[in-house]
């Protein structure tokens, strides 16, 4: 089944997303950007340009570059709002045969849905390129206040672009879907959408129909089609320019080059002041006069920005109040407030929303992408993908076995999606060890004793061999119901033993939480303990290797070296029980250095160096 593309067709920018593995994911366009300017143009030689490329050539071709077409779609030419908007754009508009609006692009008069279709067509083509499959279906979002004509026109735009529009959904509804509010009972949600050029506020209610997922209904909506982040940018630009003028007497706004640099600097400052309390606007060579080049260097504080933005925030809050009054709810009834639009990253705006509603607004989903993601989720629901055929669970705590020194070696990390299976090769800790005990533990602590013990079993009948040589394969398998089966197999004899543990997920949420907190609290102490055990294990291995080497090479090495090694072995053995990691490590290193001389000596005697046992069983933590 083909995928359904979710499209946020915005006034200033558009974005698209798709369901992948049950999650909505933003698709980047051909230019590698996550959002695309909603701009279309016909170039000098008649070529159609859409997005960033269309915007770049706008000043060379203002009459044929169409932007903010969303303000015109589905409207009639004679509406006062349309007249006002049409007067503000550089491209030509006229009344169409049916009373609708038409815009001129190149030699052609086009309906707004045809222009929107160009934008949708580019999104479709870019999505296809990225996914490597044909896209024929889409869910497109529109503002909650769009009437039937505007919705129908948007649907037509999709059709012209070669997309079957499976559904037109409200932008606030999409945002609520992205936050998963369709799954919560009796939620009353406010979507506060402060975009680049428009402000929308919507009051939603999740209505549950039986056992089904809830439908999201718009209870009231309000907004200002000419209020947005751009207004705040303009204020900042004016402030910087006037500060500069005070000092230099030059108004840089009149110079298009300086103006461009000012625009960019203002936006950068605004973004920086969302996280910093002060920023520096630094534009060298912004202009020049008789005295030579002039530079602009101005400090801007967050307080200044908030002062400049205050009037716009106040307007948005006043509209919000109006929307609340028009809804059947009181401010106190609202369960969640979602923020949409990049401008809501401004701390002052979040604070104003929090003050009005008396609760922290939610912006855990990227406010620039949340609408497109919600559209993709709607597409997933329509395409049957979101309906959970398979409810995939995860294991809440890590599962592992106890290895040498009492260490808990994890085989399956917590949060691993099940069903899953993992195996690892272990070996023996002592020479001629014929059985290994498999002790299964659950939890995040480093030492087995600190974790929950789930069960034990013994694999015996391992043929006698030097330590580290036998290969015991331990396999953990967790099925879809969380039932754990642990199997241990001796690779040499194929002898195996297994255990089935049903209660591995029978922990309460509180238990799991406590165990995780425990692990966090003891992380540092556990790490120290681990280091000590590791150092002791290494020391033991070094002693073993040294003794073996002395036996294997008897008579081939100088007597004084043998004495020296024996002294070092005694030293390591003496330190092995010490609590001081550094001491153990130093003694082990001394011994290893001495030991390397044995190989040198043996090499000199032309004998090939002996291979260390078990060196090929790579991940060999040795079970006790």
């Amino acid at each position: 089944m083909a995928k359904i593309l979710g499209i946020d067709l915005g006034t200033t920018n558009s974005a698209m997303a798709i369901m992948r593995g049950g999650e909505p994911q933003i698709l980047e366009n051909a230019e590698g950007a996550r959002t695309m300017p909603s701009v279309a143009a016909v170039g000098k030689s008649g070529e159609r340009l859409v997005g960033l490329i269309a915007r770049r050539q706008a000043v060379t071709n203002p009459k044929n570059t169409i932007y903010q077409i969303k303000r015109f779609i589905g409207h009639t030419f004679d509406e006062p709002g349309v007249q006002k908007d049409a007067a503000a754009v550089p491209f030509e508009t006229r009344k169409g045969a049916t009373g609708g609006i038409e815009v001129k692009m190149g030699e052609q008069w086009m309906r707004p849905e045809e222009v929107s279709a160009m934008i949708l067509g580019k999104l479709k083509a870019d999505a296809e390129k990225r996914l490597g499959e044909t896209i024929t279906e889409a869910v497109i979002t529109v503002p909650a206040y769009f009437n039937d004509a505007q919705r129908a026109a948007t649907r037509d735009a999709g059709k012209i672009a070669g997309l079957e529009v499976k559904r037109i959904i409200n932008e606030p509804t999409a945002a609520a879907l992205a936050y998963g509010f369709n799954k919560k009972k009796d939620e009353k949600v406010v979507v506060f959408d402060f975009g680049g050029g428009t402000f929308d506020i919507s009051v939603l209610e999740v209505v549950m129909a039986g056992e089904q997922e809830g439908s999201i209904e718009v209870r009231s909506t309000d907004g200002d089609a000419h209020l947005g982040g751009k207004d705040i940018d303009q204020k900042i630009i004016d402030w910087i320019a006037s500060e500069f003028q005070k000092e230099s007497g030059i108004d840089v706004r009149k110079d298009p080059l300086a103006r461009q640099r000012l625009d960019e600097a203002a936006e950068k400052a605004k973004i920086e002041l969302s996280t910093a309390s002060e920023t520096e606007i630094n534009i060298p060579f912004i202009t020049s006069d008789a005295s030579g080049p002039r530079h602009l260097l101005i400090k801007m504080s967050r307080a200044k920005l908030e002062e400049l933005a205050a009037e716009f925030i106040e307007r948005a809050i006043a509209i919000t109040k109006r929307a609340m009054e028009a809804s059947p709810f009181k401010v106190g009834d609202i369960n969640e407030v979602i923020l949409v639009g990049g401008q809501t990253r401004m701390p002052a705006m979040q604070a104003a929303v929090e003050q009005f509603f008396g609760k922290k607004p939610n912006m855990s989903v990227n406010p620039d992408e949340v609408v497109a993601m919600g559209a993709a989720i709607q597409g997933g629901i329509l395409g049957g993908e979101v309906r959970d055929v398979l409810l995939l669970d995860v294991i809440p705590l890590s599962l592992g076995i106890e290895t040498m020194g009492g260490v808990a070696t994890k085989l399956i990390e917590r949060n691993t999606t099940i069903p899953t299976s993992r195996s690892q090769i272990f070996s023996t800790a002592a020479d001629n060890q014929t059985s290994v005990e498999i002790h299964i533990t659950q939890g995040e602590r480093a030492m087995a004793a600190d974790n929950k013990s789930l069960g034990k079993f013994v694999l015996d009948g391992i043929p006698p061999a030097p330590r580290g040589l036998p290969q015991v394969e331990v396999t953990f398998d967790v099925d879809a119901n969380g039932i754990l089966t642990v199997k241990a197999k001796d690779k040499a004899t194929n002898k195996e033993q297994s255990i089935r543990i049903e209660g591995s997920s029978g922990l309460s949420e509180a238990d799991i939480e406590r165990m995780r907190k425990d692990a966090d609290a003891n992380a540092a102490a556990d790490k120290q303990k681990m280091e000590l055990v590791e150092a002791r294990n290494l020391a033991e291995q070094a002693v073993y290797a040294a003794r073996k080497s002395l036996t294997d090479n008897k008579g081939k090495i100088p007597a004084e070296l043998e004495t020296e090694i024996n002294t070092k072995i005694t030293a390591v053995e003496g330190k092995k029980t010490s609590e001081n990691v550094a001491e153990i490590k130093a003694a082990t290193e001394d011994l290893s250095k001495e030991l390397s001389k044995v190989y040198e000596a043996v090499q000199k005697n032309q004998t090939p160096p002996p291979q260390e046992p078990g060196s090929q069983s790579a991940p060999s933590d040795n079970p006790e």
Binding site: M1, R20, G21, G32, G43, K44, L49, I53, A54, R56, Q57, A58, V59, T60, P256, L257, Q260, P284, F285, S288, G292, P293, E385, V389, L390, A480, N481
Partner: protein, 159 residues
């Protein structure tokens, strides 16, 4: 997956002949339907995973290029200022600094572009103003930079 008892066909003594066949047919129909549903879900999950792996592989190379482009983009304002200061005062020292800068970028595969006299191309140029009727660039306000064929920043130009 849990299996409930009613999914097994128990032998009910009273039932025989057509009734039993009918019941079995229904069970079979249900089972085939479910099989199809699970098969599709499983295929979809497998396909998603295969695609994810492929994408992750390309993303890895992409990511490296992106991080590089991001670092370079952040450095460009300083280079722009240097370029502007050269326009005002062309000293050998400044030229040498600029050359060092550009040489270092070149080693990373980064190239400066945009020149007076070129034909305007919105794929690589961003127009700030248009004075004549011609589509030829008359002034470079800010140079563009690309890494291989990827545009890090379009050149800002005046026609």
């Amino acid at each position: 997956m849990e299996t409930s008892d009613d999914e097994f066909v128990s032998e009910e003594e009273a039932e025989e002949g057509p009734a039993l066949i009918k019941r079995l047919r229904e069970r079979l129909k249900k089972a085939v339907g479910e099989k199809q549903e699970y098969l599709e879900g499983w295929q979809r999950a497998r396909a998603d995973f295969a695609n994810y792996k492929k994408e992750e592989a390309t993303m890895h190379t992409d990511r490296e290029a992106r991080i590089k482009a991001q670092v370079i983009e952040d450095l460009l304002p300083a280079l722009d200022a240097l370029e502007l200061s050269l326009k005002h005062e062309d000293t050998p020292a400044l030229r040498m600094i600029e050359k060092q800068f550009l040489d270092a970028l070149k080693r990373m595969g980064v190239e400066r572009f945009g020149a007076v006299g070129e034909e305007f191309d919105p794929a690589i140029h961003e127009a700030l103003a248009k004075n004549g009727e011609d589509h030829t660039i008359t002034e470079i306000a800010r140079s563009g930079y690309k890494i291989d064929e990827t545009i890090i920043r379009a050149a800002q130009v005046i026609l």
